[in-house]
Symmetry: C2
Subunit: 288 residues, 2 copies
């Protein structure tokens, strides 16, 4: 595939267009704001203010601020012109919104591949870019070179909500790590200890620390029943004691720990439920 | 160095002793519980119930349940026998406790290297084991082969509290990730979506997602002033909107989000402080 229409030329859409032009793909831009498209027009991109005016490319990639805007743009476009075309939607959206988009795509006669971007715009087009896709396999295969120009492309399966479920789930962990990263940076600063050294070590240590937990969560929750085996290495009670030690130390350094406090409370509820000798994964019960 | 005394033969101490014996190092075990040591005695380890009875090895590694027990064992031992020896302490402890241990080591005439273990016991002795050290460089160099038999050995510098500060800081992020990992697993289960697939993707995506934040926290907080540049890619307001979307979606799936709620509250306080166009690192202010 050598031609694609990209709807949306904001920070993320612009990064995608840049990567596609770098890969010598012909890009048609659709955006109400022509200014945002100027730098790409000068590099050979075509520009139109609306989807109905745009050229007749087989594949349309949509990257808009939210689902409401994305579905508005599609449902207001000429249905006959969209019939039979491929839709790749990278707009951030919940599983319910993705299902609604899938119904809209069916109504328009389009083949629909949902896409979620797992990196910041600055990494698009580099080997750090990582995108997950779910839905129509035919679109994934046909647009493969386009998708790989954007970043690493991982197809999760035909279930259209897959990419959105994983996107939301991963983002939640991302933000849990960010909030505690901020607590820890504040803690290092209080001790006048090198933030750079902490960050350098965190990059090394966290994949190691999380390896055991990734394993435990996957093994014990893949067929979730609500009951868990006793932990072989480190029980919820031991983890809770460790968390308490950390928070005591952070408090004594004068650091607030809203995220850490919520973690300790969650762990303690897990112990009260009788899960003290279980792995930390047993707290999943408290969240259901 | 071919001989070492290990004080403490619990789950972690036992894993360390196992790794040392595998590396053909002569181990003298000190523990009040002889039963725990039996399996190592049969492999050639010596055993004594107290430090004063133990052989005269130059290097003593202490791994006990907490600082109070570790400092009790050392302060009750014969000072003349410990004079001039090397102390490596892997006991979990706060910076204040490490400072107290350092004073005790000085009083006993010992050279002191503090150590913190960043992995679960099951990974000790494998290429997944990772330990950080701070304090006396001479001990680190002399005991190098012993330390490398336990795991990857990283020397942080002569500041004795270094390893404990980084240990606490990294553990806090670890637990932030664990709590949100549990939220996300609950979310996948609610959508009947594969937990294994989520865990597999989380392992790939999280280092990528965190790369930008590691960079930002390091760049903007290494010389902390309390003021931050505007974000170039993704502002605190955008991050907050994303977090809100995630929590709405998790709530609509019937998942409780105590950790996520605390994150959103923290981000919103950051915006109220006037940091909406700043990078997410600006929330460090709210924690100080």
């Amino acid at each position: 595939m050598q031609d694609i229409t990209v709807v949306g030329c904001g920070v993320m859409g612009g990064s995608i267009i840049n990567a596609l032009l770098n890969a010598n793909i012909n890009v048609t831009i659709v955006d109400i704001n022509k200014n945002a498209a100027e730098k790409f027009i000068s590099r050979g991109a075509k520009y139109f203010a609306s989807l109905d005016e745009a050229g007749d490319n087989d594949c349309i990639l949509v990257n808009l601020p939210n689902h409401k805007i994305a579905s508005g743009v599609l449902s207001n476009a000429n249905k006959e012109r969209l019939n039979g075309k491929m839709l790749i939607n990278t707009t951030t959206s919940s599983p319910e919104e993705v299902s609604a988009m899938d119904q809209l795509a069916k109504d328009m006669g389009m083949m629909h591949l949902d896409a979620k971007i797992e990196n910041y715009p600055g990494d698009i087009g580099s080997d750090k870019a990582y995108l997950i896709y779910s839905g129509c396999r035919q679109v994934f295969d046909a647009a493969r070179n386009v998708l790989e120009a954007i970043g690493k492309a991982v197809y999760l399966g035909p279930d259209i909500i897959g990419a959105s479920v994983i996107d939301i789930a991963v983002l939640d962990v991302h933000f849990g790590a960010i909030a505690t990263l901020a607590e820890s940076v504040a803690y290092c600063i209080k001790y006048k200890y090198s933030v750079e050294s902490f960050i350098e070590q965190a990059k090394e240590i966290l994949p190691i620390m999380l390896a055991g937990n990734y394993r435990a969560f996957s093994d014990e929750c893949s067929n979730y029943t609500g009951s868990f085996e006793d932990a072989s290495e480190c029980t919820l009670r031991i983890e809770t004691t460790a968390m308490k030690t950390i928070l005591d130390s952070m408090h004594s350094a004068g650091v607030k720990t809203p995220c850490g406090d919520s973690i300790l409370d969650l762990f303690q509820k897990g112990i009260e439920s009788g899960n003290s000798s279980k792995n930390v994964v047993a707290i999943v019960n408290e969240l259901m």
